[in-house]
């Protein structure tokens, strides 16, 4: 709780938290804010015609329509849910996989450590975007496959982090004491080591919550992300790709196709980073007492 209080006291952290609450509310209220056109396909953005020329905001389409006449407002609202889904699932599973692999490697050491860490090295040497593209092209376009790709290529950082931390903490007095007292290894990891080693992972995870959404957007931009017309911010921004320059004499003609999705994605990422930064300041023992 003290951590939370400190977070609220930190001005940037507070801004981040408020923004996150805002995005949670939008995500929860999505069916109210933008009733779906297809009951069983709520993530399919309704389109008003097929023309590729974006249309400016109007009473029917408060944020205008993107290339292909997809309603931007609808896409932003339901895209919030997509963003939460992607970031929570990808970060959650990657962190879990990383923690398991990292702590097993650190705790047992020896050959097992060596093998696990070499596997980590192999995945590390895999170029991230290209790897994700290979996976999503082969598995097919779609959000699930994007998440699979991001997890497969995203757990290594957590594994290394937790391994390093555990190796440090293992030598700490209280762990040695527990070991001498005959605590078995699993209990030792779960009760004594993990709770102390986990904080850097939490900070790391918070930071990734936002950047995962950016990465997913990059995949959409490269044509291997969410399917066409899926409510996803990255998808909306990539619809803006060919209209950012506007028209001759009116460079801002299509400002709405760029601005709304960019604001959504940037704010989401920004808020997680602000919270993450603040958390790090608070949790980093080296910085304690500096305020």
């Amino acid at each position: 709780m003290t951590t939370f209080l400190k977070l609220i006291k930190n001005p940037l952290g507070l801004i981040g938290l408020v923004l996150l609450v805002f995005f949670i509310v939008i995500g929860i209220l999505a069916p109210v804010l933008a009733p779906p056109a297809w009951e069983n396909e709520p993530y399919r953005i309704p389109r008003d015609g097929y023309s590729s020329v974006p249309k400016p905001p109007s009473p029917e389409h408060p944020f205008g329509t993107a290339e292909g006449q997809y309603d931007i407002y609808y896409g932003i609202v339901w895209g919030t849910r997509t963003a939460w889904t992607v970031s929570l699932i990808v970060v959650g599973i990657s962190a879990l996989v990383g923690i398991v692999i990292g702590s097993v490697a650190a705790f047992y050491g020896g050959v097992l450590d060596e093998v696990l860490m070499r596997i980590t090295d192999i995945f590390y040497a895999f170029p991230f975007l290209v790897g994700a593209m290979v996976l999503t092209t082969i598995l097919g376009r779609g959000l699930t496959n994007v998440m699979v790709a991001l997890v497969v290529l995203g757990w290594m950082g957590y594994a290394r982090l937790i391994r390093g931390d555990i190796l440090q903490i293992r030598e700490a007095d209280y762990v040695q004491a527990a070991r001498a007292a005959g605590a078995n290894s699993l209990r030792l990891i779960l009760r004594h080591i993990l709770p102390n080693a986990i904080w850097p992972v939490v900070v790391q995870g918070t930071m990734s919550m936002g950047s995962i959404v950016i990465t997913a957007a990059a995949l959409s931009f490269l044509g291997v992300g969410a399917p066409l017309g899926y409510a996803d911010w990255g998808q909306l921004i990539s619809y803006a790709r060919n209209w950012i320059l506007g028209l001759y004499g009116n460079p801002l003609a299509y400002w709405y196709v760029v601005i709304y999705p960019s604001i959504a994605i940037t704010l989401f990422c920004l808020s997680w980073n602000l919270v993450g930064d603040a958390l790090r300041d608070i949790l980093d023992p080296r910085l304690r007492g500096s305020r």
């Binding site: 001005p11 940037l12 070499r118 596997i119 090295d121 192999i122 590390y124 040497a125 895999f126 170029p127 991230f128 975007l129 290209v130 593209m133 290979v134 996976l135 092209t137 082969i138 598995l139 936002g210 950047s211 950016i214 957007a217 990059a218 931009f221 490269l222 044509g223 291997v224 990255g234 921004i237 990539s238 803006a240 790709r241 950012i244 320059l245 460079p251 760029v258 960019s262 994605i265 940037t266 704010l267 989401f268 990422c269 920004l270 980073n273 602000l274 930064d277 790090r280 980093d284 080296r286 910085l287 500096s290 305020r291």
Partner: protein
């Protein structure tokens, strides 16, 4: 130390082959027809083709180990194969695209590292003051902006409206010079070759084309270095010797420059090294937007069209690069910081 380096280098083939086996394994999810598709992107070419004969001839239906063995055998004989997506041999494509990416990555390294350090120490020195918040928000906003939005907006502003920094790698005049026989292409890295040829026109033109992509890359990556530098500066600023220096009555500027910053840089250097290595495989989008024909774009295209020989060749290179970069960083770290011992 030497033993450590040798041991790490011995791991190199393991890592690289691991990557390659992964790709082979994933490719097995495709049907042989799908693996053949790279050669049939033009519907007209489908005429008079007997797909089954082709699949048989190119061994696309062979078991994975035999396909892998074929590939390995060819690589051992210096044959990396043909990249359909680049319309050139894999080796040729690599030699052509690699210097372009290297040029981008090396030039970006400068502003990323220097800018990151400057911003980081600024925000540490002014800890919790408005300037700390402003710097951090500035950097985090860049981090939160998708590269393609930042890049396209930059292009729009600095070329579309101002006409300063055009897309592409070289202008018309400069590329004619580079193609001519008087200009010797030593490395393929244009700025370097221009200096070696003592041709400042080409150098200037190349630089002018580099400004936008380099700053886009820098803006979206500063946050990382800023964080590391800031954290380590904050720590150092509270160390005894800094306090001592202050107590001796040294000017604050001198304390920060001479004592704190130098020591705070150790972790930064580690991160910086990795950042530059990773820049290589993060260039996909920058290269696409600014029309640079580099490795990232080639690999992305290969990935999307199942151009297996190209992908494998790229992974081979990338694996070597990452392993060496990590090794160099480790060694450097140990060299700078005597507390670290390589085991």
């Amino acid at each position: 130390m030497l033993a450590y380096i040798i041991r790490r280098l011995l791991m190199l083939p393991v890592v690289v082959l691991g990557c390659i086996i992964l790709v082979f394994a994933v490719m097995q999810l495709l049907s042989p027809y799908e693996r053949l598709s790279i050669y049939c992107s033009n519907p007209a070419e489908l005429k008079n083709i007997d797909f089954d004969v082709l699949i048989e001839r190119y061994g696309l239906n062979d078991p994975i180990y035999s396909q892998f063995a074929d590939w390995f055998w060819n690589v051992m004989h210096g044959e990396l194969g043909w990249s359909q997506s680049a319309a050139r041999p894999v080796m040729g494509a690599f030699m052509r695209f690699m210097p372009v990416s290297a040029e981008l990555a090396l030039w970006s390294a400068l502003p990323i590292i220097l800018g990151g350090i400057w911003l980081g120490s600024l925000s540490a020195v002014k800890h919790n003051k408005p300037i700390d918040h402003i710097t951090r928000i500035f950097a985090i906003t860049g981090w939160s902006l998708p590269t393609f939005v930042a890049g396209l907006l930059g292009l729009f502003l600095f070329y579309g409206i101002l006409g300063w920094f055009p897309p592409g790698q070289l202008g018309l005049g400069a590329s004619a010079i580079v193609r001519s026989s008087q200009f010797v292409n030593y490395t393929g890295i244009i700025t370097l070759d221009a200096v070696l040829n003592w041709n400042w026109y080409v150098f200037g033109d190349a630089l002018r084309h580099l400004v936008l992509p380099v700053f886009t890359l820098a803006y979206v990556s500063w946050a990382l270095l800023l964080r590391v530098t800031r954290a380590s500066m904050l720590e150092t600023l509270r160390q005894d010797y800094v306090t001592t220096a202050r107590a001796k009555g040294l000017e604050e500027k001198v304390v920060i420059k001479k004592h704190a910053r130098r020591n705070a840089l150790i972790p930064t250097i580690t991160i910086a090294g990795v950042t530059v290595a990773f820049l290589f495989n993060g260039l996909v989008i920058t290269e696409t937007i600014f029309d640079f024909h580099g490795l990232g774009r080639w690999a992305a295209r290969a990935a999307q069209t199942f151009d297996l020989p190209a992908l494998l060749g790229y992974l081979l290179f990338n694996g070597v690069l990452i392993v060496f970069a990590n090794l160099i960083v480790d060694v450097m770290y140990a060299y700078i910081d005597p507390r670290v011992r390589l085991e």
